[in-house]
Symmetry: C2
Subunit: 156 residues, 2 copies
Amino acid sequence: MKTTKKYGKKTDLALNLWVKLSRAFAVINKKATEDIAKYGLTEPQFCVLECLGHLGQLSIGELTRKQLVSAGNMTVVVNNLEKEGLVERSREPGNRRVVKVQLTAKGSKKFDEIFLNHAKYITHLISVLTEKEQSDLAKLLKKLGLIVQQLNHNTK
Amino acid sequence: MKTTKKYGKKTDLALNLWVKLSRAFAVINKKATEDIAKYGLTEPQFCVLECLGHLGQLSIGELTRKQLVSAGNMTVVVNNLEKEGLVERSREPGNRRVVKVQLTAKGSKKFDEIFLNHAKYITHLISVLTEKEQSDLAKLLKKLGLIVQQLNHNTK
DNA sequence: TAATAATAATTGAAGTTTATACTATTCAAA
DNA sequence: TTTGAATAGTATAAACTTCAATTATTATTA
């Protein structure tokens, strides 16, 4: 195990955490994406189905905010889901700028078929940690994510 | 705070961790990518420069394994860095299938200019956690990443 | 009310990403 | 030693991703 201090203790500690966080995410995300691919979906497509399946009708803007993604990107992903007949668009009556997206019957069926299986698969992966480790880890990650998100964009 | 048990305790615990992990990664990665963009680089381009800057000459294959990325992808990223004159390719004399990639003088200069500043920025973000929290978190993430990576691909 | 600004989504260009297929080189074995 | 398998990297197609520019709609304000 490398313990060399290269940039000072504080920096090394933080960089090490960032490396471990990136790595853990990448490893699990890769397997999760492979699992989703078995159902004929890409990972971002699955995320949209999951959002709509759990929360119902959402606008493009709401989807982008939930997934930290650009609007242009969401338009493309929704286009591809629409081609497959899994979701459909409709204009909001009160504000015609807004496009609402919702599952079709086919999309709803697909969501039901996939979600539980995928959840079991993720649970299987994560269960390499004890329940206490899982809740400790989740607590720390929640704190990290929330505070960093609130940091001022322009603070360097 | 939602505490509804929807899919059973074990599954809810694991899914919650996966959500928090994805979120924390996404939030920090977004800011890190924005920081890197200030230097005229994309995030994967920066990763390649960082690897080469710290480890010296590496093959395409070594780079893909370090970054959990496909070889086709690495070819493209290295192509783009080569266009900018930041890296250069050379064939390995002993095994002419292997392409070694290394920083040019320009790339090395860029690496020196960028890395410390970016490291300071990441440290600034991560420092919303105490040092103890950082080391606890890093330890758990390391365990999670390592064990999941070793899981058999075909185990479902 | 008419001009201007703000908001929501889309489009287009450039880059990233994967999977698959392909080329070149090396290794293994009949 | 020649055939066949394995390895390293590249080319291609389809999808994702961002940013910047554009269109349509709504809100503001002079």
